[in-house]
Every structure is written in structure tokens, then in C-alpha cells.
Amino acid sequence: MIKVPGCPPIGEVMAGVIVYVLAFGRLPQLDGLGRPKAFYAKRVHDSCYRRPFYDAGLFVESWDDESAKRGHCLYKMGCRGPVTYNACGITRWNDGVSYPIQSGHGCIGCSEESFWDNGPFYRHLASFPGFGIETTADKIGTVVGAVTVGGMAAHAISTNIRKRKLIKDKIEENNQKADKEEGGK
């Protein structure tokens, strides 16, 4: 069985899965949860065009504030991008016009199992069990150089130092967990 989760799933993704089966005469590669890897292998966070602002520690602090207008990261507003596997950031919605984050609202994680009970939607993620791990975060060490706005740089650097520590711990924890799971198979 192929699972194409989402509430609803992206139309183009649904079409893509059907076209895959028709064109190649077999099922697409699936992940452990039965989702086609072509669309669900990456977290919304990994393909988010606002990701550089997360890495730089620039966040929307309140709806419609200056950061919101500049398109900064919605993590603090409850965005579930870091724990949601979907193609929203790449395929986008309705012929690629936009996706929730691009239109200013955080991802509510609608393609994740029982997403409605992973709330409330506006509390930011760190306080949640199952907080995702920055699997690609090891690449971001040099991000500070990207921060050009003088006034924000100091804040960004300190945020990054804290965050990189957190990320490092999480990666180690995750690796240990993965090793265990691997061993159990």
C-alpha cells in the first residue's frame, strides 16, 4: 500500500504517484511508513526557502512584525516544518503558487501521523516530545558569515552558538538511537 499523507495531500503529489505507477509499471520507492520517497523523504524544514533565516537565528516573534514582512523563520510561531515530511517547500501548492510558510503561517504538520493531536499549533516545537533533529545541521556551522545586518549579528551569533550546541547533542542522541534501531532489525 502506498500512503500519500496530508490534509489534503498536495494535488501534484497525488498525480505524481499515479503517473509513477502508470509510467514505470511499478510502485515508487517507499519509506518505512509507506510514503513515496520522491515526495516524503525530506522535511519541510530542509527545503524551506526561509531556512537561511533559521540558521541565522532570525525569527518572526509576533504575527505581522517586521520579521514577518522580511520572511524570517516561523519556528517560534509554532512551525512544524522541522518535524514534517512533505514536498510543500519544493512542489508547493496549486501549480507551485505558494505554500503555507510562504504565505506567512507556520506549517501545521498536516502530513504527519495524528497531526491534530500534536498541538497546540502555535506553541513552538522545542517543548514537544518527538522534536526533530537537525540531521543536516552539521553543514551550517559557517552560517554566521551570511548574516550581514550589523545590528542583528550579535543576537544571531549567540543564538547560533546555543543552537549548535543543542543540535550537536541531538545528533549524538539520534545517532545512538539509530544504532540501536539498526541493531534490532
Binding site: 489534503p8 510502485l27 505581522d64 503558487v97 510558510i101 510562504q102 504565505s103 498536516c110 499549533f121
Partner: protein
């Protein structure tokens, strides 16, 4: 002897609806409407953050998406006493209008037209004659003989392969189909065009709300920011995109939908005297021009009409405990203090009590409980809601723009205003309000641009965002007009959480079972006395029921105790 016919499910709707009708001497002598699936959002919402409720309720349905989100944010804002900035109101209005345009066009062509348009007959059409007729009713540029013969060939391929596909399920050749083959062909051609167009107009939702279905809303405003000088906000490029979509919508509605509606209606004028049903109409009103708290300036005025008296518009109040109340006498629910009571939604209860037969069954026990829909009443009166109700209340309120559109259309069809109280009147009202909405949308767009030009870009009021700013207890009601009619959400907030939440949706008003006193609701009443050409092919029932645009998904919804959908479709 009376013959009981059952239509279950009624197709080309959203959701699950069952109609049982008794036919005597070729006419419907009695009718029962049943929602055969349960919803239960009220239960799901208890204990949650009120600011999250829009995202849950919006998902009641993917067809009229957005409407429950709007009613939801309004009820929370009403409870918290927060007004949204003018731009947020305008963005909501633009999304509202886009919803109407898409929903009404899809309803007309894809859910309702095939009750009037015989697809198979269109194969007999002469493409040159079809083009002549099409050009005589509209200047839509696609109406060439070559275009219509291409469409005809596409349909021919379907029919010859034995795969009617989207056109498979209908009573083709039924004697109640009256259109000449050429008009049928125009209908089919535009059915296909409308499929393409409808996916464009919803991009207004994608721009402001990030996706469709289920774009994002926000308590206190709109989640998107406006900034003409930033690439990340709603800027000139995004706004121009919206402008183009509105212009395309205006063209489609004025040059395709309205001419088709008028042409088809002219062949079915007998349906101006069938299917009238109830004589009472309820409208909460919507499309605020100067804020949600000033209903006198809504484009769709608020009000109620009793006994078809258009000269008196009654005041409607969502917070009056004696106005909107729900019965469960014939619904599969149980009220703590007895099922003979009617409860205002603020004290509404949702406790399931299924007493119906075990499926599969032949007939429902209509003397007892027979539906998952409750029975709402306004001051104890059954009310019809929807496009017809909206236009009648606007007409009765003396709105010139609405009057003009109605008068022009009825003039062309040579019919009096009273002809609107009918199946065809309902279908015409939907088209006419689509026309109004398209023009209003353009107005709202101009207002938004003008605000930005004057330096007002605010889209959010943060006064009451943080729960610590809330009172311990608060009650709110959010009134709106879904495409299918009056929609309201009622909320009781206690200690920052949802204590009670009740949705009373348009199809509950229209499709509900009888009340305590045995009074029928709109669907049942509208079917009475309908002549039936052939009881085994109840096309006439479909015409009248479809004229309401049933959307039972938001009236009923089925989940198992773990919150999973019972129905699953799988391929492997």
C-alpha cells in the same frame, strides 16, 4: 398505493445523503432526508486551544473549504473582544469571494448541470449551429464550430469506448431532459472548461493562505503580511496575480456561467413553479465593508424573512438564546434534559444515540430518530438558507445592486420575483449572486490596494493573542455565509481552553429531519408535490435536492474512536 423510493446516496454532492420519498399518483406525497454519517467535531474540539479551532473545523469539508475557518476565527474573536485590522477583513473577503466563485461554478457545471444537460444527446448536435447559438448568447471567444466539433469528438471517444467516466452516473435519455442537442453540447463544452478554470481561481487562497484546500487563517487577523517592498510578503507581484485571477473570474462568470444559466433556464421554466418548499429564509450576512461588527454595511445583509413577506426583514441575533436552537427529536443524539427540548448552541450538547436499523436496511423508521443531523430552528421556525435566502433578504432590504441583477435576469426570462421561490429560482439565485460576488471582489481588491498605497499594511491585531490576556470565561459566536447558506460557530472558552463548541452548518438547516412538532425542514418540504415522470429514475428529486447544493460533509463526518476515517482506498 404509495410507492416508497429511496435515493441513497444522492450523488454529485459532497458527503452522504439519503432521501426517502413516497410517490402517490405520480407526485411526491411525503419525503424524508437523512444524513447517514456522523460528524462529531464538537467532541474533537473540547479542551483544545481556541486559536487552533479554525484548522480543525475548516477540515469539515474540502469543497467549501475556508468557510468554517472564517466562522471559527470570528467566534473566537467575538469571545475575546478583538477586532481585526481592515486589511485582514479585506483579505478574508477576497478569500471568501474566491470560494464562492469556485464553489458556485463547480456546483453549476459539475454537480448540477447534468440534471438539466443530457451529455449523450450532445453527440447529435450540429457544431455549426451550436457555434451560432453560443455566439448569440455570449462573446466568449472559444465558440467556433471547430471548437465544438472537437469537444464532441472527445465525448464520442468516451461513449464509444463504453467508458463515460465522469459522465457515467446519470439518467441519459430521461424524458425530463428538454434541451436541444446544441445547447447540451454548449453545456458539456463549458463543463470541461469550468474544470480548468476552477483550479485557477482558488490560487487566491494559495496566495493569501498558502494552499487550497484548507488555506491558513489566524485569530486576530490574517497570517500573511503586506509589504510592497519585500520579496517575502504579499507584494506587487502577488497582488497583480490576484488582480489577474479576479479579471479572469469576471470574464468567466459574465461570458460563460450567466449566459449558460439563462439559456438553460429558458427551457425549464416549468421548474419556476416546482420545489419552492419552505416560506422562511434566514441569512446571517457577510462580506463586511466596514468591519465585522457593523452588519449594516455587509454586502450580504443579515436578516430573516417569514412567510415570503419580502416587505419585512426580521433582525437576527446569534447571541439571543431564543433565536437559533437545535432539536434532536428525530436525530441520533441524546439531550441530558430530554429530547423534546431545543438548545441554543452555547449550551448545545453532542451525545450520540444511534437508534436506527443495522445496515444494510430497506427503510428508516421515520417516526423515530432518522438522521445524524440535528434540527435547527430560528424562533422555532424551519428556515431555508443559501443563495436564494441571501438574495431575497438583500432584495427585501432594498439593496439596489442586488435588485438590479435580479430584475434584469427575471426580465429576460419573463418571470416575476415570486418565480424565485422554486427549484429553478434557487439555481438562478446562485448564478446571480456569483455575478455580484465577482464584482464585489474587484471592489475589495481596489480597497486593499488603496489601503497599502495610503501606508496601512497591518494585517494582525495582537492585543488578545496571548491567552494570559483573556478572561477566565468567555463566550462568542461567529456568523458567516458559506456558499450553501447561513453558517455559525458558537464557542465557550474556560481557562484558556474550549469548554464547548458547536457548529450549526447550512446543510443542517436545509437537510435536517423534522422537529418536535413534526415540521419539515427545507429539503423535505421542497420535494412535496413534485411530479415524477418515472419513479425508477428519480431525476426530479435530484434536480430539487441539487438546487440546494447539498454538502453533507460538513453536516456529518465519520471517524472511528481513534479519529481515523472508516473508509480507506488502497492500491497495491
Amino acid at each position: 398505493m404509495a410507492k416508497r423510493i429511496v435515493v441513497d446516496p444522492i450523488t454529485r454532492i459532497e458527503g452522504h445523503l439519503r432521501i426517502e420519498a413516497e410517490v402517490k399518483n405520480g407526485k411526491i406525497a411525503d419525503a424524508y432526508s437523512s444524513g447517514t454519517m456522523v460528524r462529531g467535531f464538537e467532541i474533537i474540539l473540547k479542551g483544545r486551544d481556541p486559536r487552533d479551532a479554525w484548522a480543525f473545523t475548516e477540515r469539515a469539508c474540502g469543497v467549501c473549504t475556508t468557510v468554517h475557518a472564517l466562522a471559527s476565527v470570528r467566534c473566537v474573536e467575538n469571545a475575546l473582544g478583538v477586532a481585526v485590522p481592515p486589511n485582514a477583513e479585506l483579505i478574508r473577503n477576497l478569500m471568501f469571494c474566491a470560494q464562492y466563485l469556485q464553489d458556485h461554478v463547480v456546483h453549476f457545471y459539475h454537480l448540477h448541470a447534468l440534471d438539466w444537460v443530457d451529455v449523450v444527446s450532445s453527440l447529435k448536435a450540429n457544431p455549426t449551429e451550436t457555434a451560432r447559438i453560443a455566439q448569440s448568447i455570449s462573446n466568449w471567444p472559444k465558440s467556433s464550430p471547430k471548437y465544438f466539433s472537437d469537444v464532441q469528438n472527445r465525448i464520442k471517444t468516451f461513449v464509444e469506448s463504453g467508458q463515460l467516466g465522469i459522465f457515467a452516473n446519470a439518467y441519459w435519455g430521461h424524458p425530463a431532459y428538454k434541451l436541444p442537442p446544441e445547447v447540451n453540447l454548449i453545456g458539456v463544452a463549458h463543463y470541461l472548461e469550468a474544470l480548468d478554470w476552477q483550479k485557477e481561481i482558488v490560487k487566491v487562497h494559495t496566495i493569501f493562505g498558502g494552499k487550497n484546500p484548507h488555506p491558513n487563517y489566524l485569530v486576530g487577523g490574517a497570517p500573511c503580511s503586506l509589504d510592497q517592498d519585500d520579496s517575502s510578503a504579499i507584494n506587487a507581484e502577488r497582488l497583480a496575480f490576484v488582480g489577474t485571477l479576479i479579471d479572469q473570474a469576471l470574464e468567466f462568470v459574465e461570458q460563460v456561467y450567466i449566459p449558460d444559466l439563462m439559456a438553460i433556464a429558458s427551457f425549464y421554466k416549468d421548474w419556476f413553479s416546482i420545489g419552492g418548499g419552505l416560506k422562511n429564509y434566514l441569512v446571517y450576512g457577510d462580506l463586511p465593508v466596514s468591519g465585522y461588527n457593523d452588519p449594516s454595511n455587509f454586502k450580504f445583509p443579515r436578516g430573516a424573512i417569514l412567510n415570503r413577506n419580502l416587505n419585512e426583514i426580521h433582525e437576527v441575533k446569534g447571541d439571543d438564546p431564543d433565536q437559533v436552537r437545535e432539536y434532536v427529536t428525530h436525530s441520533w443524539y441524546k439531550y441530558q434534559n430530554g429530547d423534546d427540548k431545543a438548545l441554543h448552541p452555547w449550551v448545545g450538547e453532542t451525545e450520540f444515540n444511534y437508534t436506527g436499523p443495522k445496515p444494510p436496511y430497506e427503510n428508516l423508521n421515520v417516526d423515530g430518530k432518522y438522521s445524524w443531523l440535528k434540527t435547527p430552528r430560528w424562533k422555532d421556525n424551519p428556515m431555508e438558507v443559501g443563495p436564494l435566502a441571501r438574495l431575497l433578504v438583500a432584495y427585501g432590504s432594498g439593496r439596489d445592486d442586488v435588485k438590479e441583477v435580479i430584475t434584469e435576469a427575471l426580465g429576460k426570462l419573463n418571470a416575476p420575483v415570486t418565480a424565485l421561490f422554486s427549484t429553478l429560482g434557487r439555481t438562478a439565485a446562485r448564478g446571480l449572486e456569483t455575478r455580484l460576488v465577482a464584482h464585489w471582489m474587484k471592489e475589495f481588491y481596489g480597497m486593499l490596494l488603496s489601503n497599502i498605497k495610503n501606508g496601512d499594511t497591518r494585517t494582525f491585531n495582537k492585543e488578545k493573542w496571548e491567552p494570559k490576556t483573556w478572561t477566565t470565561e468567555a463566550k462568542g459566536v461567529g456568523l458567516s455565509e458559506a456558499p450553501r447558506g447561513a453558517l455559525a460557530h458558537w464557542i465557550v472558552i474556560k481557562d484558556e481552553k474550549i469548554e464547548n463548541y458547536q457548529l450549526v452548518v447550512p446543510s443542517t438547516w436545509n437537510a435536517s429531519p423534522r422537529d418536535l412538532n413534526g415540521n419539515q425542514s427545507a429539503y423535505e418540504a421542497s420535494l412535496m408535490e413534485t411530479p415524477m415522470a418515472n419513479a425508477d429514475q428519480p431525476l426530479e428529486i435530484l434536480r430539487t435536492i441539487h438546487s440546494f447544493d447539498p454538502c453533507i460533509a460538513c453536516a456529518v463526518h465519520l471517524y472511528d474512536p481513534k479519529g481515523k476515517h472508516i473508509n480507506q482506498v488502497s492500491i497495491s
